[in-house]
């Protein structure tokens, strides 16, 4: 018989390296037409991080995301970056880019002040213009200002900056300290159907509520969560590198190492928890890794809810579940008085 169950799991997860410095540096160059080029040493490994970093630069400069081109990952060209690791890119590289953009913008403001006959501190960058705060009609296009800064004043609007998340070393005896600058939080709830005659599990639905601070690009946040859940399902139910007695892997191929396909995926509901972290760029933290952290726990709790067995070793294969169900039934039979 197929039995349904539900399971919940929550988690916390840090952004960046444990205590160790993990800085990013960045360069933002505003071109003569008001578009911009960003240099970053991080690498696009699929998450869409360069898109997000471009959005951060655009927001800081008051231009559109499409106006920004991001150059990345060339040690001859791009500044130092700790890289696409530890869910740190949006938070750490994002902060470096935001600060670099602010530095470029300061040159634009100093240039535009005399053009608009106000002090630089009275200016803001919006809608591809440098305008007087509270008087948006008094404005000059960013392109015009950038061009004047470069060819008029001889001060090209280029900003550079670096950022490192502040931490405090952990005491070696007690571990007391501030190992990370910030953390994210999440809950996932899974609904499963378990066949109690075969031990097979069908994950029907997962609701994932994730904190990432400000979602710089909600579409990409959803993509990270959905992808993380698929990796979590593989971890919970399918994937395992198996070794023979001599220590050689016996399933080093995708025929025998089973990972989730489109047929293994449930309906996924992604909820982005409203939050703002003042230490992140425009309130953002990160989401790459935490997306899969609670998935296996939620699924295993749902299996327990469905058929009353607690699987304590991953992956929860149908063989393990069926064995546990049989053991439970045998135990129950024993308890019935003869």
């Amino acid at each position: 018989m197929k039995r349904r169950g539900r399971g919940i799991a929550c988690m916390w997860y840090p952004i960046g390296f444990t205590v160790d410095a993990n800085p990013s540096a960045a360069v933002v160059k505003v071109n003569e037409d008001g578009t911009a080029t960003v240099l970053t040493g991080t690498v696009e490994t699929g998450q869409g991080s360069l898109t997000v970093l471009g959005q951060i630069a655009a927001e800081a400069l008051g231009i559109a995301a499409d106006d920004v081109h991001v150059v990345s990952a060339d040690t001859d060209v791009t500044p130092m970056d700790t890289g696409a690791i530890a869910s740190r890119t949006t938070y750490v590289t994002g902060n470096a880019i935001r600060l670099a953009a602010e530095n470029a913008k300061a040159i634009l403001f100093e240039t535009a002040g005399p053009m608009l006959q106000v002090m630089p501190s009275q200016l803001e960058a919006r809608d591809r213009k440098i305008q007087v705060k509270g008087f948006p009609q008094r404005s000059v296009s960013i392109g015009e200002v950038a061009k004047r800064a470069q060819v008029g004043l001889g001060r090209p609007p280029i900003g550079s900056a670096s950022w490192n998340p502040p931490t405090v070393a952990m005491d070696p005896e007690t571990g007391q300290g501030k190992p990370f600058s910030t953390y994210v939080y999440a809950t996932q709830i899974a609904e499963v159907e378990v066949d109690d005659e075969t031990g097979e599990v069908d994950v029907l639905r997962i609701v994932a509520s994730h904190d990432c601070g400000t979602p710089i690009n909600p579409m990409l946040v959803e993509g990270q969560v959905e992808g993380g859940i698929s990796m979590g399902i593989g971890f919970a139910l399918q994937e395992e590198m198996l070794f023979n007695a001599q220590g050689c892997q016996i399933n080093p191929n995708l025929t025998n190492y089973i990972m989730p396909t489109s047929l293994d995926m449930p309906e996924i509901v992604v909820d982005i928890v409203e939050n703002y972290d003042p230490t992140g760029p425009f309130g953002a933290k990160g989401v790459g890794e935490p997306s899969l952290v609670p998935t296996a726990a939620a699924i295993l709790n749902a299996i327990h809810d469905a058929v009353g067995v607690r699987i304590t070793s991953l992956p929860a294969t149908s063989e393990k579940i069926l064995t546990a169900i049989k053991a439970k039934r045998a135990g129950e039979r024993k308890q019935v008085p003869a």
């Binding site: 919940i8 929550c10 997860y13 444990t18 690498v43 696009e44 490994t45 699929g46 898109t51 959005q55 008051g62 995301a65 499409d66 990952a73 060339d74 040690t75 970056d81 890289g83 696409a84 690791i85 530890a86 591809r128 005896e173 007690t174 571990g175 007391q176 501030k178 910030t182 953390y183 939080y185 999440a186 809950t187 709830i189 609904e191 609701v207 509520s209 904190d211 690009n217 909600p218 990409l220 993380g228 590198m241 892997q249 190492y257 909820d271 928890v273 939050n275 972290d277 003042p278 230490t279 933290k285 935490p290 952290v293 998935t295 296996a296 709790n301 607690r310 304590t312 070793s313 991953l314």
Partner: protein
Amino acid sequence: MTDEPKTLTRERIAVGDMWRYADDARSLPAAVPPKTLPSEPLVPQPGQQTLAVGQRVTRPDSRNHGLGRTKYIDDLAFPGMLFAKFKRAGIASARIMRIDTSAAEAMPGVMAVLTGNEIPVNSFGPTFQDQPVLADPIVRHAGDGVAAVAAVTEQIAAEAVEKITVDYEPLPAVFDPLEAMRDDAYKIHAPNSNIYASKVVRRGDVDKGFAQSDQIFEGRFTTQMVEHVPLEPHAAIAEWDANGRLTVWATIGRITLARADLARTLKLPMNRVRLIGTFVGGNFGGKNEISQEPALALLSKKAGRPVKGVFTRNDEFISSTTRHPFIMEYKTGVTKDGRILARSVRLILDGGAYCSWSATTLGKACILASGPYKIDNVHSEAHVIYTNKTMTGAMRGFGAPQVCFAYESHMDDIAKALGIDPLEIRLRNVFDEGTSSPTGQVLHSVVVRESLRNAADRFGWETRS
């Protein structure tokens, strides 16, 4: 946050934006690959222009992906480029007595062969430099590379690898981390202990906390070894210019560290090494350090031609990093209304043959192990152990998925025994803004309670006890 319509409306398919199929060549003139790319830039509406943050901005790279135009490393080719293949040990623990590469070198089309003794500094790693580029003379896991070949075709390189013969003296091997922890266990990196890193987080007094508890629960949980399985296998190309400057294109998510490691293994000044990270076809932590790159660079130097190496799927499994298997022992003391007073956790990580990112995994797992819960008395300790298996390293979550599986399974067992709804017991214990974490850190922007409530609402969670 804007919510764009999920469905593609007529408005989004502009009038006149008709398409034809390229495979309809039977009825159409021969199709040619598009010369000019369609130009449909995302033009923000006035007033939205500066709202870059929070927008569902389309990725600029996705058009190239959809057209098959993204250039991954295996899509790059240079004049005269050679192809490298690696000879894997196939034995988990051994001393290499002799490597005979003569038959491989004699094959037409083979341009260079490399063994570990030719590598200037044959060790690397982000924490400890305990991993060789090619094993020499000790093999510590079956996926260790022992030799590499560069040839004019992949086929010839693969055949040449088969002709390399290696004489091994088998050494004792240990695969179980609990066995490897014993004093009398075979030392994989002798004279060092197999316990290669440890971490403790201690707060309050767990013994006192347990003494004050109404009930104490214990649980033991284990997890397995998992591979990242990026769809694109590890790949790299190495090329030298006439000034002795090296350029490497590599699938590495962390080029700063990779350049430092490359310069170190090759004994080159860092300004003579250029590392270019092309678009990586999936990382998940598995591509955050060098692997074959120093060997490709040396093969290229020997042959005087660019050398490309692409891992086979088999290489990817046996010779790249993996997720740490964990053994986790939990003990938790609670009041009868479900408040956690004390928790002790002991984690044993199967650390594989080399350290890689194990120290980071160990630290994060140990810090996170007690869960997002207010617990005055915590003791977490974690140890990572060498075994003669594929090295374990960074993988999405750095130990957090393992400990979350344990602390959340454990939490449900406690809830069930106490007759408290699983959602409710979590709400009674979770962090709030300003909570002091197990390391004594005052937490900010804490929304775990909100995430529990949101998820429960969206799921339609009905309380039962």
